[in-house]
């Protein structure tokens, strides 16, 4: 998201990115970050929780106005209540998870986010 944000900011728009992984977003040079400790897939809050969603958006827009130093991170004051027991996982494991189970030697490349060349990376037919 930070890479996309940089392009839009460079094109002349003021941008802010929410982020559940602010260190990662900041590491690519994001101009403004609003960090939030919400689960993946529920960035703004639970379905139907309009109050939370509105306050997250307000906090993000406030940070957009207040940040004056490029690359700054504002931590939004929201805590996820552990009592919200939800089925967070996707219906099927993400393809990269299945792939790394079968190709564990690519795990360092995954951690460094340096994908192998296309011809190396495509799944091979089973023997």
């Amino acid at each position: 998201m930070g890479l996309v944000q940089r392009e839009i900011e460079a094109a002349g728009f003021s941008t802010i990115s929410l982020s559940m992984m602010p260190e990662l977003t900041a590491s690519v040079g994001s101009p403004r970050i609003a960090a939030i400790e919400h689960p993946f897939g529920l960035t703004m809050g639970l379905p139907g929780d309009a109050t939370c969603q509105l306050e997250v958006l307000r906090g993000t827009l406030r940070a957009l106005q207040e940040i004056s130093q490029p690359g700054s991170v504002v931590n939004l004051p929201f805590e996820w209540k552990s009592s919200d027991r939800l089925k967070m996982y996707p219906p099927e494991p993400p393809p990269i998870v299945k792939y790394l189970r079968r190709h564990p030697w690519y795990f360092p490349k995954f951690l460094k986010r340096t994908p192998p060349k296309v011809h190396e990376a495509l799944p091979r037919p089973r023997q």
Binding site: M1, L3, V4, Q5, R6, E7, I8, E9, A11, G12, F13, S14, T15, I16, S17, S19, M20, T25, S27, V28, G29, S30, P31, F40, G41, L42, T43, M44, G45, L46, P47, G48, A50, Q53, L54, L57, R58, T60, L61, L64, P70, G71, K87, M88, P90, P91, E92, P94, P95, I96, K98, Y99, F110, K112, R113, T114, P115, P116, A121, P123
Partner: protein
């Protein structure tokens, strides 16, 4: 060998200051949830299933009146049921319209945008999709963009 985190840290950060009060700004939302109107072409999940380092690099427009029942979420790393029940979980279109009605934001843009997040090969996204989105933002005289990951 350097990896991209250390390379990125030394880059210059682009900067466009907010040119006017938010109450006079047009604001657009950009979500990486791979959300598409059901009447639109869905994102191609099989691209990522075949090459897990890459995903469909296209984007879709979500009009400012879009609501949850009209949208399909195709991101393969989240449970899409929450966003399909209430789009505002990941793309706060309804909440932004409320801030417009309250006068806290000048205008919610006519269009908001979504692409398929999670790719370790962002070249096509950055070379084609993002410039297209930027053209739309200019046409609709957007001032500020809020990016919402999932």
């Amino acid at each position: 060998m350097k990896h991209w985190i250390s390379l990125g840290a030394s880059r210059e950060i682009p900067w466009t200051p907010l040119s006017k009060p938010l109450s006079r700004c047009t604001v657009a939302l950009l979500s990486s949830a791979a959300a598409a109107l059901k009447t639109d072409q869905p994102f191609d999940q099989d691209i990522e299933r075949q090459d897990p380092w890459f995903s469909d690099p296209s984007y879709r427009i979500l009009p400012r009146a879009a609501s949850a029942g009209e949208v399909r979420v195709c991101h393969l790393h989240i449970n899409p049921c929450f966003a399909e029940e209430d789009l505002n979980c990941v793309i706060p279109i309804g909440r932004l319209n409320e801030l417009e009605a309250l006068g806290e934001v000048g205008r919610s843009a006519p269009s908001h945008y979504s692409y398929m997040g999670y790719t370790l090969r962002p070249e096509a996204l950055l070379a084609h999709t993002v410039p297209d989105i930027i053209r739309h933002l200019r046409q609709e005289q957007v001032d500020a963009v809020v990016l919402v990951p999932v």
